[in-house]
């Protein structure tokens, strides 16, 4: 099989989508070295990153790289051309990973990664430009893709609800896995936490969808009710629309109890997961929720939202709470302080649960999907 794979988002500034593509393609190439791979550092005209992966980290006989484009315009012309498949060397499979759908894939099997459809539920969680690009891409996938890879059963269900014409048998769930392959790693204490003994941890970009405001309220209430005065650490860079988060914390009277670390390195994350009192993840909406899985992996007792994909990750290895009920979070935090045995139990359950997510398994599932896709006709030619 000649496999074409979009790696456009796997450059230096990786986010959730980029991690999936990066880890998946590495795992795929490890378990299936007999196939040839074309990795596309530029893919379409929606996501365009001048600092796209510039190096070719996988130099080997069966791997080559697709064209790089210096401008969005030239990328657009290339990827929208009607003969794009010939220009790409006629792959058997093309996997799209950055929301954009190539319009003229007439021979190869087009596999589209669906992360989430949050933008059709609450469009204000992102910018209008981003929303339009995401919706255009998913809509075109609903028309043109042969198969959809959904990163959770929740996303799969949502896609089929929004596009009920799409055959459910061609939407498969393949879970992403943790970035961290060494569960014994100790990590590295962040400078911002120098001298800090116990702390609550919440890992996410600071943005409305991640619901940090309500968590801050719940924490303020927890302190007011006499909860053990451990600081609350928000680990993550600034995302959308949350410029005044620091002043929000001031107004709650807890600015001096909260540590905003900004963007942290992988090693610092690992250390924080290992040493936190608990990991709090109150997100309104997820396609998967990597930080939840990663926290479980390193034994962090976890309190998380009960919505969308999160219960799929945690099963019964976490305490699940409605993201809008701040009093429930306050109570759960107070209870956890009083119940050290509960923390032990969650930590151990979490570590076990995390082992269910394995890149080898996911890559094998994707490979099986490719084989099935090539054995069957394209969707437009089936009954």
């Amino acid at each position: 099989m000649h496999i074409g794979f979009d790696v456009s988002q796997t450059g230096a500034k990786k986010a959730g989508c980029g991690y999936f593509a990066d880890a998946m393609v590495r795992a795929l190439m490890r378990i299936a070295p007999m196939h040839t791979y074309a990795l596309y550092p530029s893919f379409g005209d929606f996501f365009f990153d001048a600092s796209m992966p510039l190096r070719n980290p996988f130099e080997s006989a069966n791997v080559h790289y697709g064209p790089r484009h210096l401008t969005r315009d030239s990328a657009s012309r290339f990827w929208n051309a009607s003969d794009v498949e010939t220009a790409l060397g006629k792959p058997d499979v093309v996997q799209a990973n950055n929301f954009w759908t190539p319009p003229h894939v007439r021979h190869a099997r087009l596999i589209y990664t669906l992360y989430d459809l949050s933008f059709v539920v609450q469009p204000d969680w992102t910018t209008e430009t981003n929303r339009i690009g995401c919706f255009d891409g998913v809509f075109r996938a609903a028309i043109e893709a042969d198969w959809i890879v959904a990163i959770s059963a929740s996303s799969r269900r949502h896609f089929l609800d929004v596009f009920p014409h799409f055959p459910p048998a061609r939407v498969r769930v393949i879970h992403p896995c943790s970035r961290f392959t060494d569960t014994t790693a100790e990590g590295h204490r962040p400078k911002a936490l120098a001298g800090v003994e116990a702390f609550w941890l919440s890992v996410s970009t600071i943005e409305p969808r991640k619901n940090q405001r309500r968590l801050a309220e719940a924490y303020a209430h927890y302190l007011a009710l006499g909860g053990a005065p451990m600081p609350l650490v928000f680990a993550g860079g600034d995302g959308w629309l949350m410029d005044d988060f620091a002043s929000y914390l001031e107004n709650l009277g807890i600015r001096d109890r909260v540590i905003l670390t900004g963007y942290v390195s992988d090693a610092e994350l690992v250390w924080m997961y290992r040493h936190c009192f608990a990991h709090l993840y109150p997100s309104w909406f997820e396609g998967f929720g990597l930080p939840v899985l990663e926290g479980l992996q390193f034994g962090a007792p976890t309190l998380a939202s009960n919505t969308t994909s999160i219960p799929e990750i945690t099963a019964d290895a976490a305490i699940l709470l409605p993201p809008d009920e701040t009093h429930a979070w306050t109570k759960a935090m107070l209870d956890l302080v009083d119940q050290p045995e509960q923390r032990e139990r969650l930590s151990s359950l979490g570590a076990t649960r995390a082992r269910a997510f394995d890149w080898q398994q996911s890559a094998q599932a994707l490979l099986s999907l490719y084989e099935e896709a090539c054995a069957l006709p394209k969707r437009s030619r089936s009954a």
Partner: protein, 434 residues
Amino acid sequence: MTTFKTVVVDLTPVLPGGENGGAKIFVLELVARLAARLPQTQFVLLTQASSHGELACLDRTNVRRELAVGDADSGISRPRLLAWSGLLLARMPGLVRAVAGRLSDGYKRMLERLGRVSLLRKLEADLLFCPFTAPTYHEQGIPMVCTIYDLQFRTYPEFFTPEDVAQRRRSFEGACRLASALAAISDYSRRAALAFGHLDEARIRTIHLRLAGRGVASGGVDAIAQLGLTRGRYLLYPANFWRHKNHQMLLTAFGIAMRTGLPSDVKLVCTGAPGPRQAQVAAAVESMGLGKRVLMPGYLADDLLASVLAGAGGLVFPSLYEGFGLPVLEAMVAGVPVACSNASSLPEIAAGAAVMFDPRVPSQIVDAMLQLFGDATLRDRLISAGREHARPYLDADRMTQEYIALFEFAVGRQRPDDGVRAERNAAPYPDGAP
């Protein structure tokens, strides 16, 4: 009342056929009414070659056309030169194009100016009216009035080519800088113009498009049966297939509604001119298995469209952006209940007499569609509220008078600073507008 001896109207942007969309229909109607209302005023319509003949429909004793762009004898017309430079630009990489675009803007302006030195003075214009915004023929000392439609190029630049954005920005900024007075077609557009045009409030007025009677069926045409439709059993969306019209979202919502309670005989009719984008939408309809439920009959002439509108079970209007939204009012006049986007000018135009939805959220569009067909009490309320609300928008005469008052205001502003009135403005003028 001031008498304008000569009003020059820039109709050079008018293109043949339906390319200008609703703006052309509005402008032609307004010009005819202005001419009828001011029989003592001579109207000179500046035209370009490709639509010069079509605009003969406006000819009257006090209306004549003046071919200003494109000369049959000259061999190379300015529009062709501009088209060539556009083609050349399209082949250059983005960065180069942005710079070249700036240079060519200047080049284009120069070309434009070359052809019309003192045209207004030759025509003895008392006023220049630019109903398509662009102040192309502006000359110092001659009052100018421009109409502002919307600032979509600012809100949704991704829906335009970079050249188009630059051109629209130039037109808008030029109009704001040079016009003595401006008309915005909605309060929404007026506020947007104030925010981005460095205008003072007194200089720009809202003058609504009071042309909602255009869609009234004159009877005798049964397009409904011709199209295989059943009266009352379809939704209509009359819109060209531009991106801001949001057809993909509408199809998505219709696909969901079909499976979540929309009666199985209800169809969706999307009129609008054929072209590459219509073909894309049509392909999506097929792929989504909606071929039997979604009709795309192409561009319908006025009387056919009026017929189809009058027989609709509802108007659905999921546009992401509008400067006004005349089809909403036309539906209300026709007694058709409306489900409408809440974006841009639409809340102002629908004013509570429609079911509103966020056009970015398919489930809200689904709910609105289901309400239109599932709730008879609501339907009746919408129909009667809509008729009541839309009535003032039938008063095209009022709109004409508002433009005349604006013209008078513009001429008054152009007076010399020492307060001495120019001879041609001998009589005082009422400026009753707020």
